[in-house]
């Protein structure tokens, strides 16, 4: 793992996809991957909200994550005040609530447009990365990656969401 690489915060979608394509080890082998407790819960069988489900061994997952963070109600409240109008699922929400409390230079990988929009709204667009980009840095190429996890989708979507957030940014500055 490169010493200078920032910690990577990942959500449930990322863990499930990395597991599905067999790229989890490549990811955690290159990056310090962190998440929140709610996300770990959502990756487990019965809580994935996916069909078919991936079998993700909880012990193995936790042992390969650099940190699993607890999230306070205060952190959730701080996030809600900024983005009450963007509806995230509990794992995505807790990940952002945690991220907002951190003073260090993390990056966040969350491939849903709503999660990306939160980052843009909070002025953190430079912290948003794609899973494919993280793998590229690790010298790993995933096969049959779903669109939302690719670099191309990420770049295209970011441009569109930045445009969509402009009126909101204008309103906030008044």
């Amino acid at each position: 793992m490169a010493a200078t690489a920032p910690p990577v915060l990942v959500d449930t979608n990322v863990i499930i996809e990395a597991w599905r394509v067999g790229g989890w080890k490549a990811l955690v082998g290159r990056h310090a991957v962190e998440t929140v407790e709610q996300v770990v819960t959502e990756t487990q069988t019965g809580a994935q909200n996916r069909r078919p489900q991936q079998h993700i061994d909880g012990r193995e997952l936790k042992s390969t994550l650099a940190h699993v963070h607890a999230v306070s109600d205060g952190a959730r409240a701080t996030l809600a005040i900024e983005v009450f109008d963007i509806a995230l699922d509990p794992g995505e929400r807790d990940l952002w609530a945690h991220a907002l409390q951190r003073p260090d230079a993390w990056v966040l990988c969350g491939p849903d447009k709503a999660s990306l929009r939160v980052g843009i709204r909070l002025g953190l667009r430079d912290r948003l990365v794609s899973l494919e980009g993280l793998w590229k840095a690790a010298g790993y190429k995933a096969r049959s990656l779903r669109a939302n996890f690719t670099e191309a989708w990420h770049a295209q979507t970011m441009s569109a969401l930045v445009m969509a957030e402009r009126p909101a940014a204008g309103r906030r500055s008044k």
Partner: protein, 391 residues
């Protein structure tokens, strides 16, 4: 004012109202010197701080999760359930779920550019109206909204497109047929999609009546079953309206067998149909329609044979005595037919746009729908809407 600030203020006001607290009461709990500060927060003029949100949560007795969940009605909506024998506890649980669907649509639709209706249509009926007046209103509705040769087939689209009513096909508890939901900004009708097609159509027309008369005669929270002899006046009027809407007089004709030709003269429906016996029935010496003929009408109009039978009674075509002599079992259809896909196309279109614009995450949308992410993608396809994610 940001969207988030305004909507968080609105949530605070709704929860305060739900708990019957005055602005003064809550202001004290929040440590504000006067109620103007709270008023400014509720109208979105002033931003709520994180500490204030936590204090508000405590004062209102809700969790942070509940407070920040935008898909909750917080007591703002009123439901009227058409059901039979469903325990109140189960009904209340389902109502809470249904409220989330309605609240989600209310929140999301304006975000994706779907304006709330400017006007709320209503029927000029009241509790003192007669059954005949309700039937006349149903007949006029079918005619004026161009419901065509099979009103049941067009009704949902008319309700959605012309009256801006949210119609949702849902998986409800057994015993629940449907519900009407009235909010200050939106009307919604929920139909149990597992019911037989004919039943679903009747429920839809019945709930439409409640939506269109909510102010003049608000329905009970839980309706008595249809078979209940003490069924209220409002429900009788709703049934009469639904019956006439789905089976307008001009469409309740029987294909003329050669022996019966010459009795016709009914008014056409502008689509080449009509010309059945119409008013000629009443005065003719024709024999009453047979169960087979009643069933044929039911199949054509996509309603139940029993509904047709009683419609014929109300039209004076069949005497009450003759109707009672017809065994309802002989009027039953062949089965339920295919279930419609969950919810509705407009609901999925709005949800899809919200996901595509980053207003709602796909996982959150799936949780709202009670589906896996993969099944949600299939549901979009079932409604002819492109799934807005590939996760």
């Amino acid at each position: 004012m940001t969207n988030a600030t305004a909507r968080l203020g609105g949530r605070l006001r709704a929860l305060r109202d739900q708990r019957g607290l005055s602005q003064e009461d809550l202001s004290r709990s929040l440590g504000f010197k006067d109620r103007q500060t709270l008023s400014a927060i509720e109208t979105g003029e002033r931003r709520l701080s994180a500490d204030e949100l936590l204090r508000a949560v405590k004062a209102l007795g809700v969790s942070v999760e509940q407070f920040i969940d935008p898909f909750q009605l917080a007591g703002e909506g009123r439901f009227s359930w058409r059901q039979s024998g469903v325990p109140l506890e189960g009904l209340n649980r389902f109502e809470s779920q249904a409220g989330r669907w309605v609240a989600a649509f209310r929140e999301i639709a304006p975000q994706v550019g779907r304006q709330r209706p400017l006007l709320r249509p209503s029927l000029g009926l009241h509790k003192g109206s007669t059954v005949e007046e309700a039937m006349a209103a149903g007949e006029r509705f079918a005619r004026e909204f161009d419901l065509g040769a099979v009103p049941a087939a067009r009704l949902q689209a008319v309700m959605e497109e012309r009256l801006h009513i949210l119609v949702l096909m849902v998986d409800a508890l057994a015993g629940i047929s449907g519900a009407a939901c009235h909010l200050p900004e939106l009307d919604a009708v929920l139909i149990n999609r597992s019911e037989a097609e004919s039943r679903r159509h009747f429920d839809l027309a019945h709930e439409l009546f409640h939506v269109l008369t909510w102010q003049a005669m608000p329905p009970e929270h839980v309706e008595a079953p249809d078979e209940d002899a003490g069924k209220g006046r409002v429900e009788q009027l709703a049934n009469a309206f639904a019956s006439a809407l789905l089976m307008p007089k001009v469409l309740v004709d029987i294909p003329d067998p050669p022996a019966r030709r010459g009795y016709g003269g009914g008014v056409g429906y502008g689509d080449g149909r009509g010309g059945g016996r119409g008013d000629g029935w009443k005065d003719s010496d024709m024999p009453p329609p047979s169960p087979k003929e009643i069933k044929a009408i039911a199949v054509r109009l996509r309603v139940s044979g029993v509904a047709v039978k009683w419609r014929l009674v109300s039209l004076g075509v069949l005497s009450r005595k003759a109707a009672l002599a017809i065994d309802d079992r002989t009027l039953r259809g062949d089965g339920k037919g295919p279930r419609p896909p969950l919810f509705s196309k407009p609901f999925l279109q709005v949800l899809g746009q919200a996901i595509d614009q980053g207003q709602v995450s796909a996982r959150r949308a799936a949780e709202l729908a009670g589906l896996t992410l993969d099944d949600l993608a299939k549901l979009f396809e079932a409604h002819g809407v492109t799934a807005p994610f590939d996760l």
